[in-house]
Symmetry: C2
Subunit: 345 residues, 2 copies
């Protein structure tokens, strides 16, 4: 093991869509764990849309990444040194290790992962934050009932595919939206969506809305919102009375930065507000990090279903930390198929 | 008693703000009650902002008023003929009698009003639909907690004044918004708001936001939304994490009709959506008519407080059915002070 580690820093704040120049691969000494901390050799890094928000200035979920700082994110790897009770070298741990080959973190921020019960990559997707996001928000905010209709975009992503599979198992009609015919086939064949619409086949919200109206002939009871943009505009007029919109992301607008003039929406705020009023909709934004107390219940419910194959997963694994920026750019463009992961070792 | 009655019909659909020409005062025979129906001589008519929506074509709360049809609304009057059990001539009743001197309605749609326990006008405001709207939405959606801050516009109206008084009694800091110094003084002196801002003193949302930030230095936990427009734009960035927005009206935009190009909002949908996401807001539209099952609980709570003077009310009473259109136009412009009523007898 080298005493040097690699990490990727934010070289500059993106102006719209990030480019490779906004990232820098740097080398430095492997850090030393302090009291209560563990040192982890990262095996797999997670790439998630929320990271785009952290690259901007201004208010986001949490304090943003400073220029020159290491890109943040969750990863899973092997503990190679520990000053914390409960972690031994050789253990595997998930934690906020960032885009780095090695990292230290306080043990309280880490979660032990059992490599014998499931592949450790699942701690980044179906059994990690994205799967938990879908599980929590569908149940707590979506309040699904058999016979209702659910729409979710990014249907083959780790959130959308969890939402779709859970909703289907509860007796809902599930309508996915994805980019491209291949992803739509995957959504139906692997994740069991009743139908999946290719948003790339629809140049505007009006066209997509027409297709949605056919796919959801009784209207939409739950719109699980993780994309915004054209999909939101297509969906809103189709929402049924007392519909629910858990709002956990808006990837279509992330590259619009401060969401000023760059973020176009044909729908006006008054029109959106009017629909919420007239159709008695409930819109609720949430950040899953406020709800970790429910994570054990999530794992207890979903881990056996992953093991049995009742819940399916698809991963898209890039190779090498140096390829993380390109994979992240691809994630924002929808190039990935399934949960985007970067393999480091 | 004459055998003729007067009623006001929708002469034409308004293009923007209604004008007097959009209404017609007509005369016709007093209707005869059918089985299960009562005939009422209306004493007081209620004018409410929601009626503006019923004048437009297209989706609104309920089926809209046809051109030539009688303007809809709740009224209170004396039963002069009854084919229904439970109602006798001489009883007073509230019901959907419309803008008319006389009307029949099925007894199931009517509610007996006791003129000895409170002035019958209160059945249109503080002890009627507006008061119930404020009571229900504050408790059920607003979930107020002592020490929090609430903002409500139209603070001297029957909804806003109920919301403010209830919130104050629960230990919240209450910030009202109203049009003009006189209403602001009324909001503070009569309805007990901690502070009331005059939206007319602020030409744009930015200016109003600055004043709101001073009036609500800890941020806003509950924004009781009944106006939209400049106030909404001022409030949204000041919402605290986990803030709640009961959405029961948007009077600022009602005259924009279909809410297309005519309804201007400087804030974009992406910016609004982002704030809901990042601050984990809950926005919930509701129509009080879905919740009449809770009306007895409301009356049991509030009627004694009105009788004791713990809940204050202010009424603005126009005289004569012929003046209802002008009073309604004034309501949309904010000319009224307190609950707008029209006295017919």
């Amino acid at each position: 093991m080298s005493d040097q580690m690699q990490h990727i820093t934010l070289a500059s704040r993106p102006n719209g869509a990030p480019t490779l120049d906004d990232f820098a691969l740097e080398t430095g000494p492997v850090p030393t764990p302090g009291p209560g901390e563990v040192l982890v050799r990262v095996h797999y890094m997670s790439l998630d849309p929320y990271m785009r928000g952290r690259m901007d200035e201004g208010k986001s979920y949490t304090a943003n990444i400073p220029v020159g700082g290491t890109m943040e994110g969750g990863s899973v790897g092997e503990v190679i040194a520990s000053n914390a009770d409960g972690f031994q070298p050789g253990d595997f741990a998930f934690g906020p290790f960032g885009w780095a080959t090695h990292a230290v973190a306080h043990a309280k921020m880490c979660r032990k992962v059992d490599p014998d019960s499931a592949p450790i990559t699942t701690s980044l997707g179906v059994l990690g934050m994205p799967g938990f996001t879908g599980w929590y928000a569908l149940h707590e905010i979506g309040q699904p009932k058999a016979g209702e209709t659910l729409v979710v975009a990014a249907a083959t992503g780790p959130v959308g595919s969890m939402v779709g599979q859970l909703a289907k198992s509860l007796g809902l009609r599930t309508v996915g939206i994805a980019g491209g015919a291949d992803k739509c086939a995957l959504a139906v064949d692997t994740f069991g969506f009743d139908v999946c619409l290719d948003h790339r086949a629809h140049p505007d919200a009006r066209s997509l809305r027409k297709a949605l109206a056919e796919a959801a002939p009784d209207g939409i009871d739950i719109y699980f919102e993780n994309v915004g943009g054209k999909v939101l505009e297509a969906v809103i007029p189709l929402m049924k009375e007392h519909g629910r919109i858990p709002l956990c992301g808006m990837i279509a607008w992330y590259n619009a930065g401060g969401l000023g003039a760059g973020a176009e929406a044909a729908m006006s705020v008054p029109a959106l507000w009017r629909t919420i009023l007239v159709s008695h909709l409930r819109v609720q934004g949430f950040i899953i990090s406020n709800h970790w107390d429910r994570f054990p219940a999530f794992l207890a419910d979903i881990a056996p279903k992953v093991a049995s194959g009742d819940i399916k997963l698809v991963e898209d694994i890039a190779d090498g930390i140096e390829n993380a920026p390109d994979a992240f750019i691809g994630l924002l463009e929808g190039r990935n198929v399934g949960k985007q992961i970067v393999k480091l070792i």
